[in-house]
Symmetry: C2
Subunit: 360 residues, 2 copies
DNA sequence: ATGCCTATTGCAAACCTTTACACTTTGTGC
DNA sequence: GCACAAAGTGTAAAGGTTTGCAATAGGCAT
């Protein structure tokens, strides 16, 4: 592989100039005469020479590589974040590396080492591992990482560690969904949450409780340990378990669309009709949510927007890395109203009644 | 940020040894006396020193960074590949970078430059851009890339360019699905494919044609330009368009599960029941496919297996980069039978009939 | 005491760029 | 003709590590 060992020195020799001049030509430095520049460029093109960004990075202490740390790229929520973040980085001439850290994992010293070693230009963290309130070591270990690179999180505030961050206003979003369901006449609403003690769960639950309380609605809470459609299917059963029919919830808010997908199937299996027997609201607005049966009403967390904003922060931070943490960016989730909550049907009925009235 | 500038020289000075000795301690080289080693380690721990992998990479001409080039990480098929590939790389102490290249993009000289510049240890390519039969420049441009790093593709053979690759046996897989539908009594089967001229489309279509021909079944082909559930919803209408009812297809094979999701919705809207009025078979076995209504029978392409195998090849290739291309690894897709094809229902009916017979 | 072998350590080159600084040449204004 | 500035180019250092080779010291056989 002759080409791959080709260095700037070889090009310089062939063009009859010094390596400095070649470097200047390649980086479009103005102080190069036109004839020299074109001679150099000819040699560069002839051999297809491409400078080694590793060597450049060493000298300039900038790798143009950004790390993204998240639990599971297969989960559409994280895929959305990653995708948008990658695009944003690409636009800035940088490239992203994925580091996986499990939902319930923790940011260990050892994990941090792997990041530091790479001398990244910055790191974007998101996932349960930065949300756990009892991770006492988190501020210290992240503080250490920050000595090497700027950090941005998509997550809640971390007590004892300030940094740039982006986060959806979950309590408000969920409250909005509860308001909507209440407006449709529901008096008993269930919430299928999670047993894991993370903020992204806690804030949803909080929003739900508050929303119900404010409206004097009966809040029924169920938690699941893992989040997968199959688990959602099971939890549909739990919703009614041991309750007389007149105490059944008439609506259910599900912690994410993946689970909601399972809940829909579970309700179907039980012979219940959505939204007539049970209204369902999900969370995430996944690509599949518009195509479930019935199409899912869901809280749009706007994963891509989160990813885009976070990466933008990170990129602007890399040029001025150690300023004080800016105000967190809060993204307000919007409710996407489809069929599963019954609002559309009701709208249609009202319209029909109206025109019937007119006809009389 | 004092720590971040800490070099091996500083550690060496503090420990009263040379940088060579520190390096040997850190890389577990045997020729270091126990007292020296522990003294060095103490200093390393004291400052939390972490070697700079950029500098190491420059010297060793190995970055332990692998590139993955694909169209869209949000698509669950690609997410599966990426996820599995990342895990495999992680297990080998390497890290992956994502480079996005649109479905219908082409591997340009400029794009290749960006990869070469990074001096990656290897590249995994997958997506329509390596499948187009009329991409005349592909062998040349990939050949150039290969001068710098080993290449593995998840894709069909590229005429004029040999490299390690992994690919599902699509014709055989689709034929298997057709056989299955024929076995259920279907005589007119539709295929919703794509207008794009890529091998992953062509091979499916080929398998479908051959499968139908062999069994004397009427093959009805429909192509869509883009693949999204919304488009699938539309294409459900096209399936019946202008046909007398007795000429309607009774089963449809859809190019992927995403589209199938839309087709299911479209059929529902038309008032058709799946699988009674129309059997549906998808392709990909996505996480949501088990939870559609009805659960989708689908051809399992095993994206994760593809990603895992490809990355494994790449990693083994990085140690011996320029050997002749090995035999391609062919993964045989399996048919996952759920409800949407009607086989389950039929099974149940036969069972019921049987026991009824016994009862008589 | 001599020679040889081994274990340990240090020296210095190499990896490939970029860039501050110095030098040469040419042009301009007086 | 001279001082000075500007433009173009080269030299060499720097970035942080690894590693071949040399050097030193100690142990052991002769």
């Amino acid at each position: 592989m002759p080409d791959s060992r080709l260095t700037i020195i070889d090009i310089a020799r062939e063009a009859g100039v010094s390596s400095a001049t070649v470097s200047r030509v390649l980086s479009k430095h103005p102080n190069v005469s036109a004839p020299t520049a074109s001679r150099v460029r000819a040699v560069v093109d002839k051999y297809g020479y491409q400078p080694n960004s590793i060597a450049r990075g060493l000298l300039q202490r900038q790798s143009h590589v950004l790390g993204i740390i998240m639990p599971d790229i297969k989960h559409p929520y994280y895929a959305g974040i990653f995708s948008a973040a990658q695009r944003e980085a690409e636009g800035a001439g940088a490239v992203v590396q994925l580091y996986r850290l499990e939902y319930n994992g923790s940011v260990t010293e050892e994990f941090i080492r792997r990041l530091i070693e790479r001398r990244l230009d910055g790191t974007l963290l998101t996932g349960g591992f930065i949300e756990s309130p009892n991770a006492r070591e988190l501020p210290a270990v992240l503080g250490r990482l920050r000595q090497y690179m700027p950090i941005v999180t998509i997550g809640p505030e971390i007590p004892g560690f300030e940094c740039a961050r982006v986060w959806p206003d979950l309590p408000n979003g969920v409250r909005r969904a509860v308001d909507h369901l209440a407006g449709l006449g529901h008096k008993r609403i269930a919430f299928i949450g999670a047993t894991t003690d993370t903020r992204s769960v806690g804030e949803r639950e909080q929003g739900f409780r508050e929303g119900c309380e404010r409206l004097g609605i009966e809040a029924m809470l169920y938690n699941e340990s893992i989040h997968h459609p199959a688990k959602g299917e099971e939890s549909a059963v739990r919703l009614l378990d041991g309750l007389p029919k007149n105490r059944w919830p008439t609506a259910v808010m599900v912690i994410n669309d993946l689970m909601a997908l399972g809940v829909l199937k579970g309700l179907r299996t039980l012979g219940l009709t959505v939204p007539d027997d049970m209204a369902v609201v999900g969370c995430d607005n996944q690509f599949f949510s518009a195509f479930t049966d019935p199409p899912l009403t869901t809280l749009n967390l706007n994963a891509e927007e989160l990813g885009r904003l976070a990466m933008r922060q990170l990129i602007s931070g890399t040029s001025a890395p150690f300023v004080n943490a800016p105000e967190p960016i809060v993204v307000d989730p919007g409710l996407i109203i489809r069929e599963s909550c019954g609002a559309r049907r009701r709208e249609a009925q009202m319209l029909a009644a109206e025109s019937a009235l007119k006809a009389v």
